[in-house]
């Protein structure tokens, strides 16, 4: 017994030593990955984000319908209940829904949707439905899921004010809402590194001027500034052009915080031993910046960028919501929420608020992933 115990103890000790050895020879990025994987919430969030982005990429395939085709008879129809038990009480392996029967309230003339229990419409995977062209390239009419009867309509999350499928529109909205953050952050990243680097590296007057510009941009309330800038966008611009213009508008403020971080890091790292060593080695200024300084805080910058993405998503949502961002033919979560502005409609059809859920989940996920990356970005602190 004691022998076995001793043996296991020896084994664990050996394993620990091996782990230590692994840590010693691992590259910085390996260490970061190990640290990140320990942060369970961040890993789960990362998985959620990957799913969200996959859905956005394959929107035409994932969404059961065409986002612009409307069914007048289904205006503001509520979400379907997806059932497994049929009216006779038998269990069905294949889930099904009852189609809606529309009647009018005899007093208020409000539309009432009642499920017609005599008809069962089964769901299916890879069903045929509205035709689409994936990325404008591949023609198909196969959707990931939907009702097997192409004429019927599955109302997963309800229908909007003109009878378009809300779930479909949320899926398509993810495309704009989720990418605007990435593109915007890439833009802010570029500006931030450029001006922050100049500020921190050159110092003196340049630093003074850039810092004052940053301070004044930050003193202005962001949203009114964005609102004012988006007014200058002509309303007859195509969606793609407006999209990029809005990205630029959102980046006008976003780059300032990254520039500050870059500048601060430059100041702090200039005095480090390894920079001095590189100088003694005869490395030029540019080589020091790009070969030694930037990589040493790149992971930190990436973590900061992840935390900046939610701000961009929120910015787009808010701008579109008040009608100054993307406009109607474009689909984004903010544009969808514009429908929910009319409180009397909203009170009768609360599912119009559902895009909110997707906004909140993606922002939470980005926050957690950002937290995890920030903790992992300096792998030498705790290992």
């Amino acid at each position: 017994m004691t022998e076995v115990e001793a043996a296991t103890r020896l084994e664990t000790a050996a394993a620990e030593e091996q782990a230590d050895q692994r840590v010693l020879v691992a590259s910085q990025w390996q260490l970061i990955r190990w640290r990140f994987l320990q942060h369970k919430l961040a890993v789960v969030s990362l998985a959620v984000l990957v799913i969200f982005y996959l859905v956005a990429i394959f929107a035409e395939f994932v969404a059961p319908y065409d986002p612009y085709i409307f069914r007048e008879d289904l205006t503001l129809a509520p979400p379907h209940t997806i059932r497994f038990i049929d009216p006779e009480g038998r269990f069905q392996l294949r889930p099904f829904v009852h189609p809606f029967e529309k009647t009018l309230d005899s007093v208020t003339y409000a539309a009432i949707f009642v499920e017609d229990e005599t008809v069962m419409q089964p769901l299916g995977l890879f069903v045929r439905g509205d035709e689409y062209k994936l990325w404008g390239l591949f023609e198909s009419d196969i959707h990931l899921f939907g009702l097997q009867d192409p004429e019927a309509r599955l109302s997963l999350l309800g229908q909007d004010t003109v009878g378009r499928d809300l779930f479909t529109r949320i899926v398509f909205g993810a495309r704009i809402s989720l990418t605007i953050g990435l593109v915007g952050v890439a833009m802010s990243f570029f500006l931030g590194i450029l001006f922050g680097g100049l500020s921190g590296y050159l110092g003196g007057t340049v630093d003074m001027v850039i810092q004052r510009v940053i301070e004044s941009l930050r003193a202005l309330p962001t949203l009114p500034l964005w609102m004012a800038l988006s007014i200058a966008l002509p309303s007859d611009w195509p969606v793609v052009r407006t999209y990029f213009a809005i990205v630029i508008i959102l980046s006008t403020v976003g780059w300032t915080s990254i520039a500050r971080v870059v500048r601060g890091r430059f100041f702090a790292l200039r005095e480090e031993d390894f920079v001095g060593a590189a100088e003694l080695d005869g490395a030029g200024n540019l080589r020091i910046i790009f070969r030694y300084l930037l990589p040493s805080f790149m992971s930190y910058i990436i973590a900061r960028l992840t935390l900046a993405i939610p701000q961009m998503i929120l910015g787009e949502t808010a701008l579109s919501f008040i009608g100054l961002g993307l406009q109607a033919p474009a689909i984004s979560w903010g544009v969808l929420l514009k429908d929910a502005q009319a409180i009397r409609v909203l009170a009768l059809s609360p599912w119009l608020l559902l895009p909110t859920l997707f906004v909140v989940v993606s922002i939470l996920a980005f926050n957690f992933v950002g937290d995890g990356l920030r903790d992992a970005s300096d792998p030498y602190t705790h290992v």
Binding site: S216, A228, A318, Q341, I343, A347
Partner: protein, 328 residues
């Protein structure tokens, strides 16, 4: 101390000038010059414009002259308190702002107070009772608060209000108080209406504050001076308030300045959703209808107020923390 304040004020000058440049760019941003669009707007409303008026307007804003002359005219008018004339409200911009700004300001200020009154005690509680049920609950609420945009919260609030009471608008005053002279009664009535918007505006800030406060205090609590004080028999509550809390609260005060733009911005969105007659709907209207004098003046004044707020918070920090006074 006086030198410190003076230095801060001097640093503010170039920032204010830059803000005015940004404001001027905003006026210039829409296509066409603003007097033409101004006149087009008046004509669209059926007014007959005399050529003399056009000429006097053009001369007043120096149109046709170099851009820096135009900028200078505009800035000197602005400094003298002449913010221009609003096309859509047909009133001097100063009057509109004077009517609307106080209620916006009250909401922002109240939400700032709420952020501190709610955030600091909860942060302290979370830190002293780490890993308790309360700590976990507030951590979750905190994360949700940061992730939920203000205007969505306002929308949900409005929806709940409508489904429970059937009213659509919160308003700033009760109907019978609408035209009453301003006094204590009217002020109390105002408070009874704006606590909800103020709470919504402050949510993100409160959530952030809880997290900062908790983290700061958790950094301080394991330090030696706390252990020493405890070993010497200082009462736990007195110890907490006297030493670690004072240090933990310091970074919080220094970032009040950053909180202000967030609150102003939140107030704009929340007021828009809740339909409150503050400066926000005016800003949106003026932007949508390209009433650029009104829009820019509002943005400039919000920016300058934020700057003043930042200055005040810097001074406050210097009062609280003697190290700052010496450093700058």
């Amino acid at each position: 101390m006086l030198i410190y304040i003076l230095r801060r004020v001097i640093v503010m000058i170039p920032v204010t000038i830059l803000i005015s440049v940004i404001g001027f760019i905003i006026i210039q941003a829409p296509p066409g010059d603003f007097v033409s669009s101004y006149i087009a707007g008046l004509e669209a409303q059926g007014d007959i414009i005399e050529p003399e008026l056009i000429d006097s307007l053009r001369a007043r804003y120096g149109l046709g002259e170099p851009i820096y002359v135009q900028y200078w005219r505009w800035v000197s008018n602005f400094v003298e308190g002449d913010l221009g004339y609003s096309m859509i409200y047909r009133e001097p911009v100063v009057d509109i702002i004077a009517q609307r700004l106080p209620s916006s300001f009250t909401i922002s200020l109240l939400s700032l107070i709420l952020v501190f009154v709610i955030g600091i005690p909860i942060g302290v509680l979370s830190a002293t009772k780490q890993y308790s049920l309360a700590d976990y609950t507030f951590t979750v609420i905190g994360f949700l608060g940061v992730a939920t945009p203000n205007f969505l919260l306002a929308l949900v609030g409005l929806w709940l209000l409508f489904s429970w009471t059937g009213t659509v608008s919160i308003g700033l005053y009760s109907p019978e108080m609408q035209n009453a002279p301003f006094g204590l009664a009217k002020f109390l009535d105002l408070l009874s209406h704006i606590w909800l918007p103020a709470l919504i505006v402050g949510t993100a800030g409160t959530a952030e504050l809880i997290r900062t406060m908790r983290a700061n205090l958790l950094d301080e609590l394991p330090k030696q001076y706390v252990t020493v004080a405890r070993a010497r028999g200082v009462k736990p509550t007195k110890l907490l308030y006297k030493y670690p809390l004072r240090i933990a609260i310091n970074p919080v005060i220094s970032t009040v300045g950053w909180l202000l733009p967030v609150l102003v911005e939140g107030e704009v969105l929340v007021s828009l959703v809740l339909g409150l007659p503050t400066i926000a709907p005016v800003l949106l209207d003026s932007l949508l209808q390209q009433d650029m004098f009104l829009a820019t003046s509002i943005i400039m004044i919000l920016g300058i107020l934020t700057l003043v707020g930042t200055l005040l918070s810097d001074i406050l920090l210097a009062i609280v923390d003697p190290r700052i006074r010496g450093a700058v």
